[in-house]
């Protein structure tokens, strides 16, 4: 589905990503774990098209998307739940959802709307509220719901757990787990290794812009470096 090959990204003279290679298979959920400043956001921005890599390739379904602007990548089936939710705060929950399906037909909009309301009943209750009046957890849910409205084939989720209470983190990860079971391909970029490893098929560890480890959750949980750095020993 998504193949990233030897990606190099520089910000001025800072080498943000070094030869990063990773892939997400059809209906697979993959996590990229790493601390603050490891290059996780840069990776997401490269896939979306906000950052221009200096080397390497990003291939979606066999097509090089390197030169495409973000909205054309969305057209090809990528959707993003951005870091910090980035909702359209002055617009209603309903409008945010409609905008998520901006490029889709009315039928898909209707169908996806039902799907996300079933997934997040609280959004159905609050559909006429302004997005900015939602609580932090609800905003994260709306952010994921908005991304799902386009019926994406690849869902990018950027730091969904950040700033959420543990109980809400669990709830959001439950939703990710359900999406994975429904066959959505997911690339999850996270600091919270503990919860992430419960819901993904594979994971990569990113450190200082390099992929230093790759494996199944079981393998990574056994790795002493992961235990020390991300799972609290």
């Amino acid at each position: 589905m998504l193949i990233i090959n030897e990606l190099d990204v520089y910000y001025n003279h800072i080498h943000a990503l070094h030869q990063v290679s990773l892939n997400v298979g059809e209906s697979e959920a993959v996590a990229v774990l790493g601390a603050n400043g490891a290059g996780k956001s840069t990776l997401i921005k490269s896939v979306m098209g906000w950052v221009k890599p200096q080397g390497g390739s990003i291939v979606l379904d066999g097509e090089e998307i390197h030169a495409l602007p973000p909205w054309e990548r969305v057209q090809r089936g990528i959707a993003l739940a951005p870091e910090g939710a980035r909702l359209f705060g002055d617009l209603s929950v309903e409008a945010n959802l409609r905008l998520g399906g901006y490029l889709q037909s009315e039928e898909i909009l209707r169908a996806q709307r039902e799907t996300v309301f079933e997934l997040f009943p609280v959004l159905a209750e609050r559909r006429n509220q302004l997005a900015k009046t939602l609580s932090g957890g609800e905003q994260q849910m709306l952010s994921i719901a908005r991304a799902l409205m386009s019926r994406p084939r690849l869902l990018l989720i950027d730091e969904v757990s950040m700033g959420l209470m543990p109980i809400l983190v669990k709830r959001v990860f439950n939703v990710i787990d359900r999406l994975r079971r429904q066959g959505v391909s997911i690339l999850l970029v996270e600091q919270n290794a503990y919860e992430s490893l419960k819901v993904v098929d594979r994971a990569y560890v990113l450190e200082n812009g390099r992929i230093v480890l790759e494996g199944t959750p079981a393998e990574l949980r056994e790795d002493p470096r992961v235990r020390a750095a991300y799972l609290g020993g």
Partner: protein
């Protein structure tokens, strides 16, 4: 109605159109421009050149003014693709100065002496010179800009413009082609201002470069801000208030731009959303007074 009152009402109608058209750019798409008078001027000059130099009728003039200004708007909107916020404000300001300089120093446009003897509109042999007929024409046009503004707010395109204003990256993440919508906003906004320019030119009967100078851009932006940016009622109210008040308060006439400047500062400090903007003090008061119903039907409920 005396001729004096009619001419004030004509000017108010023209500036209502200008404020509403700028509101599409600033209030909907969030692209703050301090160069709107340039579009006003391009429309006025297009119409003046066609009618004076090429002896076309007013109707050809105003249609061409709308068309030409819209096209020029697409090009002058290009800086918005590269720069944002305060830098865009500076760029649009610069564009205003350049456009006025072209009117002033290119002989084709009449130079500093401008173009004179513009014909009045005529229909079936009847002239619209002065009087209620012209007033009607101007307010039909103002109604048209209102209709366009309202229609836009109801469409997908309007929603997309909103996303560009709120968060460009989030807009792109849902698939909105941000550059395209910025240019749309510039085209629609410029085209409507161009038509207003033509109406102004044929009412006065002449065009001079300095009418479309940078201070006029500030005046138009003041109307949008003072009234309430992003709403329909706001720019209309702002234009009526700021265009007519100096006429009735003669002493204020000489200090018109001082007044606009002072108002801008005060609004930014105390009511940044405008006198009749969303959640403004005056608007809430008016709603309580006239509806006698809690505003909760429209306002979103609070979340505990």
């Amino acid at each position: 109605m005396s001729g004096y009152i009619i001419s004030i009402a004509v000017f108010v109608g023209i500036w209502v159109s200008l404020a509403l058209s700028l509101n599409i750019l600033v209030g909907y798409a969030g692209q703050v421009s301090l160069g709107h008078a340039a579009f006003f001027g391009i429309g006025a000059y297009t119409s003046a050149v066609l009618t004076v130099r090429y002896e076309q009728s007013f109707w050809v003039g105003i249609l061409a003014a709308i068309l030409v200004t819209g096209i020029v708007g697409a090009f002058l909107g290009l800086p918005s693709l590269r720069v944002r916020h305060d830098f865009l404000v500076l760029a649009t300001m610069g564009i205003n100065f350049v456009v006025v300089a072209i009117f002033k120093y290119v002989d084709f446009f009449g130079g500093a002496m401008g173009l004179v003897n513009l014909p009045a509109p005529a229909l079936l042999g009847l002239s619209f010179r002065g009087g209620p007929a012209y007033l009607t024409l101007v307010w039909i046009y103002a109604g048209l800009t209102l209709l366009v503004s309202w229609y836009l707010s109801q469409t997908w395109a309007g929603l997309a413009l909103n996303t560009v204003r709120i968060d460009e990256e989030a807009a792109e993440a849902v698939g909105v082609s941000v550059p395209r919508f910025k240019i749309y906003a510039f085209v629609i906004s410029a085209a409507l201002a161009g038509g207003a320019g033509s109406l102004y030119a044929h009412f006065i009967g002449s065009v001079f470069p300095d009418t479309f100078a940078f201070v006029e851009s500030i005046a138009i932006l003041s109307m949008v801000i003072v009234g309430g940016v992003g709403t329909l009622r706001g720019p209309i109210f702002g234009a009526v208030l700021l265009k007519s008040a100096p006429e009735f308060l003669r002493f204020a006439q000489d200090y018109r731009f001082t007044l606009y400047g002072a108002l801008l500062v005060l609004m930014m400090l105390f009511q940044p959303m405008g006198l009749l903007g969303k959640e403004s003090w005056l608007w809430n008061l008016a709603r309580r007074r006239f509806r006698r119903a809690p505003s909760s039907a429209l306002a979103p409920e609070e979340v505990s």
